[in-house]
């Protein structure tokens, strides 16, 4: 008899300290799918979730504002829907493989908890418990690491350690001592000047294929970039975040993504990425106006972690 395992679903929990861009990430998901022109699109599984999807997306594209800080645990029931090309062995094997298109729906049960919820000392018990409970029940976790916040506050390890300690305690009956979740580690805010310039300085930038030639950090460099950013942290504790994650979850179930929900600024006249003029995030202005988005949104690595988590959790494996 296997150890008792809590009932888990295909849900994905967004986890990160406050202001790390969790909600913005979700708001950019639909835009990212549209811009990719791939087979996937996101829809609301129920009316409330559809409304939330519309609100988040239009806020980002029309008003060019960031979503307000999440105050309570938000539950988004969205679905990734797409026609996926599949292959099947023919009856007579000598005829080879048969290809066909199949409508695939991947449920996105997303839980967006306030950043404060990850701080046991400061968060209301209901928030803390809500976050932990959702993580326990989730199959996947999107973990947000904000290098800018870490540079300024240096509290990434403290947030991570508290949550994982609690999570491990609640799921301590695991046979191998590691949690079963798939974890997409998102090194967020790649568009921020300091983050991007650090990547550029480390020589990790490559040009994206396509007309706009946006910069990106290749997937196989993402973990190294994460390590480098942790080394730059003033607290000296950030480097432990990586170790903690890999000690807590199965390393093969962790994948790293360098992401940006809003992407880089694209001059509407040039229509191509400009190394000298890429800033898309406008910090809060002197007159009290909140931070805004300068131009159109071109999300980077927003779809990929969600899709990877969804497919991993569901066991689906599209070609």
């Amino acid at each position: 008899m296997p150890p008792s395992e809590p009932a888990r679903d295909y849900g994905i929990t967004m986890w990160g300290a406050s202001s790390t861009g969790k909600t913005t990430f979700l708001a950019a998901l639909s835009v990212a799918l549209i811009r990719q022109r791939g087979p996937w699109r996101v829809i609301g599984a129920d009316q409330a979730s559809a409304t939330q999807l519309t609100r988040l997306t239009t806020g980002l594209t029309q008003r060019r504002t960031f979503p307000p800080a999440t105050a309570a645990v938000e539950h988004y029931r969205w679905e990734l829907v797409g026609m996926v090309r599949r292959a099947a062995r023919r009856r007579w094997r000598w005829l080879g493989w048969r290809h066909y298109e199949q409508l695939v729906t991947i449920p996105l049960d997303l839980v967006d908890a306030p950043g404060e919820a990850a701080d046991q000392e400061r968060a209301a018990p209901v928030l803390w418990d809500g976050l932990i409970e959702n993580m326990v029940n989730s199959g996947g976790i999107v973990f947000f690491y904000d290098p800018v916040r870490e540079f300024e506050n240096g509290d990434a390890f403290a947030h991570t350690f508290g949550v994982l300690t609690e999570l491990s305690q609640r799921m301590r009956d695991r046979a191998d001592g590691r949690l079963p979740h798939y974890v997409a580690v998102c090194i967020a805010k790649f568009d921020e000047i300091r983050v991007f310039e650090t990547a550029a300085k480390l020589g990790l930038i490559e040009e994206e294929a396509g007309d706009r030639r946006f910069p990106r950090v290749p997937g196989d460099e993402a973990k190294g970039f994460f390590e480098q950013l942790c080394d730059l942290s003033h607290s000296g504790d950030a480097e432990m975040v990586l170790s903690l994650l890999e000690q807590t979850f199965r390393p093969e179930r962790i994948r790293y993504f360098v992401t940006s929900a809003i992407g880089f600024y694209l001059d509407p006249h040039l229509r191509v990425y400009d190394r000298d003029n890429y800033q898309n995030h406008l910090p809060p202005q002197d007159d009290g106006e909140p931070a805004r988005i300068r131009g159109s949104v071109y999300p980077i690595n927003v779809v990929e972690p969600i899709l990877w988590l969804s497919q991993s959790i569901s066991g689906e494996a599209g070609e």
Partner: protein, 522 residues
């Protein structure tokens, strides 16, 4: 020439001509005498031409009561020296009671009743000391016998170069007319100062009138009056002879309180020794100045920090609160007025407004606007008034202002032909960077202008100066460069000192007692 005998001259024309001829032939420092038999007494006139060529006359009056027999002979006559003849005769007239109570029969004196001393005096005048004998009171019972005595001496002597005139016009008036119409015998120059290229002040002159010039001659010239003390600016005329060019003699010296500026000065010759001044642009009173030449020379500073013609470019940031924008405009106006009032040479003023770049789709871009370029200060002030009416520009991006576009605009338009350029920027916000700025995180200028490149380009202009008036605080790198030569805070800037730091006005008040003239070409 008429020899002996008396010429009757009701209007005095012949006498005037005779005097004018004699005055004209009078060399500097020489004199001749005229004996006048006037109602007041026997007047001996000495007509002298000064070393500066100005004719003068002075008189000695002896009342008839002292020349005719009387009970108590009085003292000898009195001397009156004067620049213009006459003026004392009425006071010297003998009392009527003395004349009425004399020994003369019928109430009239006769030549036979002249005292011995009087006869000797008159005879001496007629025989040699006086060039002209003039009876200006032929009906006077005292003057007529005395004149008859003199005329007799003249006739008996047969001297051809002395002449006797009977003319009812007072000699004083004739002398005044002659002196007034006398042509100049020397050169008349205005005393001025000239600034050498090294900044030293040296005395110089500007020619007003040449020998031969007569009353009514006028000459105009351009002079510059620096700030003077309470006494005012001195306008002095010196006379000299060509053969002794280094010897100047002061002819007239007048003073007027003239505001600092450049003027067209007109000098009009009223008569030898008297020049009247007036300024075309300004009605001021020219007063006589009694100060000594040494005192005036001592007040001339050795140097004058002359300022070159300037092109003042005022750039006003119109982003921010309306109150703040209006305060910047006020300060710009003060600066322009201060510089216009204190500038040495031609002043050109340009006015530029700049705001913030638009960043959001709904924002209107407020471009850098050249409101006036290389115009007079008046035109710039008028443009500033219009800018005041407009008030603050749309807010746009609130973390920066178009300093880089403003500088690029100035760098593009500036040629240097309008004088030494001075850029004064009033504002607060930092510049938009040319590219992404990881420190400030201010978005780049959409036009990709580079404030530093434009600044260094402008810096190449000879004499270029930069002044900054910031709302508060020192500002960033761009403002540090913009305030390279002068920097001040909006609420506390001393505009006069600020302008002086930029070389737009003199740093210290230099009082220059004489007008300045530009150096002659070559």
């Amino acid at each position: 020439m008429l020899m002996s005998g008396t010429e009757q001259e009701p209007g005095g024309e012949g006498l005037r001509e005779a005097i004018a001829r004699d005055v004209a032939g009078l060399p500097g420092g020489a004199a001749f005498m005229i004996s006048e038999f006037a109602a007041a007494g026997f007047i001996t006139w000495e007509v002298r031409r000064d070393q500066d060529g100005t004719p003068h006359a002075r008189q000695w009056l002896v009342p008839w009561s002292e020349l005719y027999h009387r009970r108590e002979p009085g003292p000898s006559g009195h001397s009156h020296e004067q620049g213009r003849p006459g003026g004392h005769r009425a006071a010297a007239e003998p009392p009527a009671a003395e004349l009425a109570g004399s020994e003369l029969t019928g109430g009239a004196l006769t030549g036979s009743e002249l005292t011995g001393g009087a006869r000797a005096r008159i005879t001496q005048a007629a025989e040699g000391s006086s060039l002209l004998l003039v009876c200006s009171a032929p009906a006077d019972p005292s003057a007529a016998p005395a004149f008859a005595l003199a005329r007799g001496v003249l006739e008996r002597g047969g001297v051809t170069w002395r002449r006797a005139f009977t003319c009812p016009v007072p000699l004083e008036d004739l002398l005044l007319e002659v002196f007034t119409d006398d042509p100049l015998t020397q050169w008349y120059d205005l005393v001025a100062l000239r600034r050498t290229p090294e900044g030293r002040l040296v005395f110089t002159t500007r020619q007003l009138f040449a020998p031969g010039a007569v009353r009514g001659a006028a000459e105009s010239l351009t002079v510059r009056c620096e700030p003077s003390d309470d006494a005012g600016t001195v306008f002095a005329v010196m006379a000299y002879r060509l053969e002794e060019r280094t010897t100047f003699r002061r002819v007239t010296q007048r003073v007027a309180n003239v505001p600092h500026g450049t003027y067209e000065l007109t000098a009009e010759l009223r008569r030898p020794g008297e020049v009247r001044f007036r300024l075309r642009e300004l009605a001021v009173k020219f007063r006589p100045d009694r100060r000594s030449w040494e005192e005036l020379v001592a007040r001339v500073p050795p140097r004058l920090d002359r300022l070159r013609p300037a092109h003042l470019i005022v750039a006003v940031e119109v982003s921010g609160s309306t109150a703040r924008v209006l305060e910047r405009i006020d300060r710009a106006e003060q600066l322009i007025r201060c510089v216009a009032a204190g500038a040495d040479g031609p002043l050109h003023v340009s006015l530029i407004s700049f705001g913030a770049h638009a960043v959001h789709r709904d924002d209107a871009e407020e471009p850098v606007t050249v409101l006036s370029w290389a115009q007079s200060s008046g035109v710039a002030l008028a443009a500033l008034s219009r800018l005041r009416e407009r008030g603050a520009a749309p807010p746009g991006y609130s973390r920066a202002a178009q300093l880089e576009c403003m500088l690029t605009t100035v760098a593009t338009r500036l040629t240097g032909e309008h004088g030494r350029p001075v850029l004064v920027t009033a504002g607060s916000r930092p510049a938009f960077p040319r590219r992404v700025d990881r420190v400030s995180e201010i978005i780049p200028c959409p036009n990709r202008n580079d404030w530093a490149a434009a600044w260094y380009h402008l810096r190449q202009h000879p004499g270029m100066a930069f002044g900054a008036i910031r709302d508060f605080g020192p500002g960033g790198e761009a403002w540090r460069h913009l305030g390279h030569d002068a920097a001040g805070q909006l609420a506390a800037v001393d505009v006069r000192r600020f302008a002086a730091d930029l070389g737009l006005v003199s740093s210290t008040a230099q009082y220059i007692p004489f007008p300045l003239v530009e150096a002659e070409e070559g």
